[in-house]
Symmetry: D2
């Protein structure tokens, strides 16, 4: 079981909504909607996706990384570096 297990229903619901937004974007392009309106919708989907990433990261650090350190696991160093690498990628986008 991973760090996000307790919140997986919520995460699924958020991803389904994002999937709906992406399908909505395809419809907008099909209907030749105004560029700025399409861009506004893309911004909104990107922000929602970023929100899922943030929740995922939070739960990973609060549980997986924390437990590894707490238990003095041999993998603790590796877990910390792995999490930092993900953070770097999220910061740089």
């Amino acid at each position: 079981m991973h760090g996000y297990a307790a919140r997986s229903d919520e995460l699924q619901a958020r991803l389904r909504r994002i999937e709906g937004q992406i399908r909505g974007l395809q419809r907008m392009i099909e209907e030749d909607r105004y560029c700025i309106d399409v861009l506004t919708q893309i911004s909104s989907a990107t922000k929602a996706l970023q929100g899922v990433a943030t929740t995922m990261l939070d739960e990973h650090v609060r549980h997986c990384v924390r437990d590894a350190i707490d238990q003095g696991a041999e993998s603790a160093d590796e877990k910390i570096e792995e999490a930092l690498e993900v953070v770097h990628r999220l910061i740089k986008r």
Copy 2:
């Protein structure tokens, strides 16, 4: 017809691929996959979505904004400010 009309097939194909990535994310969570792997997939989808936004913006500026200025349209000022506002939002994420 809007600025992106000539590239709408390509944009649709990219959005379908992103939709697939979002569905893939739901499967990953259902299968309780490792947080870091989920985060890597989210990063990839976000980057792809950002790429669609960039293409959209480029075509909007190259065509819609440019034409408005070129033709001395009364709406030229408005079009410039509207585009800059979208850029600000994309920069701030």
Copy 3:
């Protein structure tokens, strides 16, 4: 004269304030201040710098790019692509 000429005093004042923040950061590290406090100050300086970039870009588009298109300058295409490239860099950070 470039697009930002009318706002150069304001831009200079903002840059001097940012320079002060960077010197403040050096003092904080010298005094071994708490990491989170240093990070908060870095965030603030980064945001201020991003703000200068945004103002600069806005004035460039409102004046330099607009004038090139308006006058049907041969360089209009080049100016548009150059501005978009800068926008891409700002978006990706």
Copy 4:
């Protein structure tokens, strides 16, 4: 002593270089240099500042946060949330 202590000389050198870049920006504006060149220099300074933030965060997590968890410190939860909050701010810019 904080997490970055071992790297404070390096961090100071990087901040001095950034301070120089900010002063360079003021000179560029004084000399009415081309907007795009100024923006390129701002991008470079922002990236350098972001790099200092990343190093700072890494050392904070590797040492301060890790030690708090390792020693079962009462403040461990607080340290984790504090670090995540900073990460959120860096991601959103």
